[in-house]
């Protein structure tokens, strides 16, 4: 079972990477153009193509790439020569610093909202709010808090002057810079969590065990919190896991809006610069993270909750 799941997980990652490989090698304007296009030196384009082994037939390049991938070598950036893995790991903390608090914030607040005694139209208003993209929320936040009230920074991860020392002061400065982007990303996603919590809890409320508890005279509020929620949580967390990709995608526009040097910006700039190995590495990395998270979440819950069968 585990082996089968692992095999499929690897298959998925391989598919994602192959797709990226194919797309990027079929695209007009290769790395030669990105590197030497500006100078237009005669013969230089061919020289670059030869240098990177791009003058060979595509299947050969693919096989070569796959073999190196098998040994964990994601290749090197055409633009900077840096290893792709180190580039990604260098940027990962920024995206994590944005995504992790946003996930936590939206999970906690969203669950809480979803548990509120639901009035009519709750689902509709949450669905409507979810329709507001994160960058629009971000633009409004910037207008109000950064430009209007002037209490929070407009862009960046730390103070640009680089005069803030290490330790706590630096952490605080970073936190100050992250308030608006995290809020923007979280506000967009917490509505989704709230909706999901509500649906799940409502489903649990109709099960025999909750009905029994209610019949015994347990207050409805407590039935929700003590009985329905823990059971609903299992499914919730695994769904949140599958939403991770959504958070990362949302982070792209937020990183662009707030000029944060995370993975999303890396994807956009590398794709435009035709920095093939970096883009392929990113697609590979992201889908690997998403697949692995899902796998771990699934397997954990299969342990915790026998009800989670193959069907889920």
């Amino acid at each position: 079972m585990l082996l089968r799941r692992l095999a499929w997980a690897f298959g998925t990652v391989w598919l994602a990477a192959s797709l990226a490989f194919l797309l990027i090698h079929l695209a007009p304007g290769g790395p030669a153009v990105a590197l030497g296009g500006d100078s237009g030196a005669p013969g230089y384009l061919e020289e670059v193509a030869r240098l990177y082994g791009l003058d060979r037939p595509l299947p050969e390049i693919y096989l070569d790439w796959l073999t190196r991938l098998a040994t964990g070598d994601l290749g090197h950036s055409y633009r900077s020569g840096q290893s792709v893995l180190s580039l990604i790991l260098e940027r990962l903390p920024v995206t994590l610093a944005l995504v992790a608090p946003a996930v936590a914030l939206s999970a906690i607040t969203g669950t809480f909202l979803g548990l509120l005694r639901t009035r009519r139209g709750f689902a509709a208003s949450m669905a409507a709010l979810h329709a507001v993209p994160g960058y629009l929320v971000g633009q409004v936040l910037v207008m109000v808090f950064a430009l209007g009230l002037g209490i929070l920074p407009v862009q960046g991860l730390v103070d640009g002057r680089g005069e803030i020392g290490g330790g706590l002061e630096r952490q605080l400065d970073m936190a100050r810079h992250l308030v608006l982007p995290v809020l923007a990303l979280a506000l967009h996603n917490l509505t989704f969590v709230a909706l999901l919590t509500r649906t799940r809890v409502m489903a649990e409320m109709e099960r025999p065990y909750t009905l029994t508890a209610a019949a015994k005279g347990v207050a409805p509020r407590l039935v929700r919190r003590r009985h329905a929620l823990p059971n609903a949580m299992l499914g919730l967390v695994s769904l949140l896991g599958s939403r991770l990709g959504g958070f990362v995608a949302g982070a792209v526009t937020i990183e662009v809006l707030f000029a944060l040097p995370g993975l999303g910006r890396l994807a956009v700039t590398s794709a435009i610069a035709r920095d093939h190995p970096v883009v392929i590495g990113l697609v590979l990395f992201t889908s690997a993270v998403v697949v692995m998270t899902n796998l771990v979440v699934d397997l954990t819950f299969r342990r915790l909750d026998p009800r989670v069968g193959d069907a889920v």
Partner: protein
């Protein structure tokens, strides 16, 4: 409420504490990641915005385009104009402590600039026979013909000098020093975080005494002009090299603004519409004349450029007074009716839905507003435009390598001498795989001859006459339509002074008022 107030006080306090501790630091916003920091192999804007502060040219140019000393303290031109001898500043050291010498200059020109720097390769290399270094402090340029524009092509943006000891015998495109540059310039490289920032620090051993004054120069990569403007208004950024015309009004009372016609790598620019003369529809002169009558250039200046510039009056920029021909384009007044008549006459009748032809217009994304306005204006005469914004690499490939376009919107910078930036637009030898050369693929033997004549003479009056004659011809042939002369605006916060936005070394003299 109370909580919010407390929070505000804490945050304000944090901001204040950083204010009081402020050293001489300037934060500069750049729109894109520089990629690497070797200015001799690329003409890319974000790269030069950062790297030009690390390096020097042989000379520099002041605000009016006059030549000033940089690495060279003086120079003499031989009577026949074919030998130029530079005396270098003594005792200059590279940032790594190695001495700078004439060999570095020779190496950089021959091995790097003449091969990889797009403008210098196209605009200077063909005129140079040899670069020699007879002794450590002397560089001699031997020219094939007199080349009056030479001195103006030797500033840091056009010809930055690289350290030979780090680059000799390597592929300059893949040298490690590209991401950890070593120069002679006012600022030393300290750190580079991709897509985030480049930090430079003061070069304590700079060969110009008393300079630079700033201790740190921080470049922040901020995509999106809106965020840049907001950051400047809030004090997170101190200097913007380019402010979009639409944003100038927003900064009027928040920053010091300076308008110039020249900036590093782009002096005296004219927004130009290039016709691909190899496309049958555009090979017909009446069609190009119709474009000239159909486009409302005044409206472009007002709505897109927000008045920052002038409607083009001649093929050569009005700031090059001795070569420009005012009134050369007078015959083409804005007159859609005339344009319609010309198009009818050219055999492009309107279809049932009103359009005569659909043409592809290629441009940089930054010029999208020009293109959209042009689409509106041309719709009135029945010409439909398909807009295709492309990033610089793709644009250069489509227009100059594959020649797959109908119309291209290009900001052609004339430079301070027509030999630098005008010749490449019209000379038949400049057709082909060189970015931002003769996009129209225009060929006219008379025009070629006039350029060759003007380019090899040292007599300014005679050169001016040749250029004006050339302008009369191209104004008649219309391989391009010259739209608007665009001025640049730079902005910096009021507590700074002496930025030089017309130069790559814009922060060499800048300081923060106490």
């Amino acid at each position: 409420m109370k909580f919010r107030l407390t929070l505000a006080i804490i945050l304000a306090g944090a901001a204040f504490s950083t204010l009081t501790a402020r050293a001489q630091v300037a934060v500069v916003a750049v729109a894109g990641d520089p990629g690497h920091l070797n200015p001799a192999i690329s003409t890319a804007g974000p790269l030069h915005a950062v790297a030009d502060s690390i390096f020097n040219g042989l000379v520099s140019l002041d605000r009016d385009g006059n030549v000033q000393p940089d690495l060279a303290t003086s120079w003499t031109v031989s009577p026949d104009g074919r030998e130029v001898r530079f005396t270098l500043s003594p005792g200059v050291k590279w940032h790594d402590g190695k001495p700078f010498s004439a060999e570095d200059v020779k190496f950089t020109f021959v091995e790097v600039l003449f091969r990889f720097h797009a403008r210098t390769r196209a605009g200077l290399a063909p005129a140079v026979e040899a670069v020699e270094a007879p002794d450590a402090d002397t560089v001699v340029f031997r020219l094939k013909r007199p080349h009056p524009a030479l001195l103006r092509q030797l500033n840091v943006t056009e010809a930055p000098i690289l350290p030979r000891h780090l680059y000799a015998g390597s592929d300059p495109n893949r040298n490690e020093a590209n991401s950890r540059p070593v120069g002679t310039g006012a600022f030393r490289f300290e750190g580079y975080k991709r897509d985030d920032s480049v930090v430079l620090v003061r070069n304590e051993n700079y060969f110009k005494p008393g300079l630079p004054k700033l201790e740190r120069l921080v470049f922040r990569v901020i995509p999106g002009t809106n965020t840049q403007i907001a950051a400047l208004a809030k004090g997170e950024v101190d200097y913007l090299g380019r402010v979009a015309p639409s944003d100038v009004a927003r900064l009027k009372d928040k920053a010091t603004l300076l308008d110039t016609t020249s900036g590093p790598g782009g002096a005296n620019c004219i927004m130009t519409l290039a016709f691909n003369l190899q496309r049958p529809a555009l090979a017909a002169l009446p069609v190009r004349q119709a474009f000239a009558h159909a486009l409302n250039r005044r409206q472009m200046l007002d709505l897109v450029q927000f008045g920052q510039g002038r409607v083009a009056q001649a093929p050569i920029h009005s700031a090059i007074g001795w070569a420009t021909l005012p009134g050369a384009l007078q015959a083409y007044e804005f007159d859609p009716a005339k344009a319609n008549a010309l198009l009818d006459q050219a055999g492009l009748p309107r279809s049932a839905s009103g359009e005569r032809a659909t043409l592809d217009l290629l441009m940089f994304p930054a010029f999208a507003r020009y293109a959209e306005l042009m689409r509106q204006q041309l719709a009135a005469v029945g010409i439909a435009l398909r807009l295709k914004p492309l990033d610089p690499a793709a644009f250069a490939t489509s227009v100059f390598t594959q020649r797959d376009f109908d119309l291209a919107l290009i900001s052609y910078c004339n430079g301070v001498d027509p030999e630098i930036g005008v010749r490449r637009m019209y000379h038949s030898t400049a057709i082909g795989n060189v970015p931002f050369s003769n996009a129209a693929a225009y060929r006219n033997a008379d025009v070629d001859r006039l350029f060759d004549q003007a380019g090899s003479s040292t007599d300014t009056a005679a050169r001016g006459e040749a250029y004006r004659e050339m302008e009369r011809i191209v104004a008649r042939d219309l391989p391009y339509w010259w739209l608007v002369e665009t001025d640049f605006t730079s902005a910096w916060r009021g507590d700074f002074a002496d930025f030089a936005p017309w130069s790559g070394q814009f922060a060499e003299r800048a300081f923060q008022k106490r």
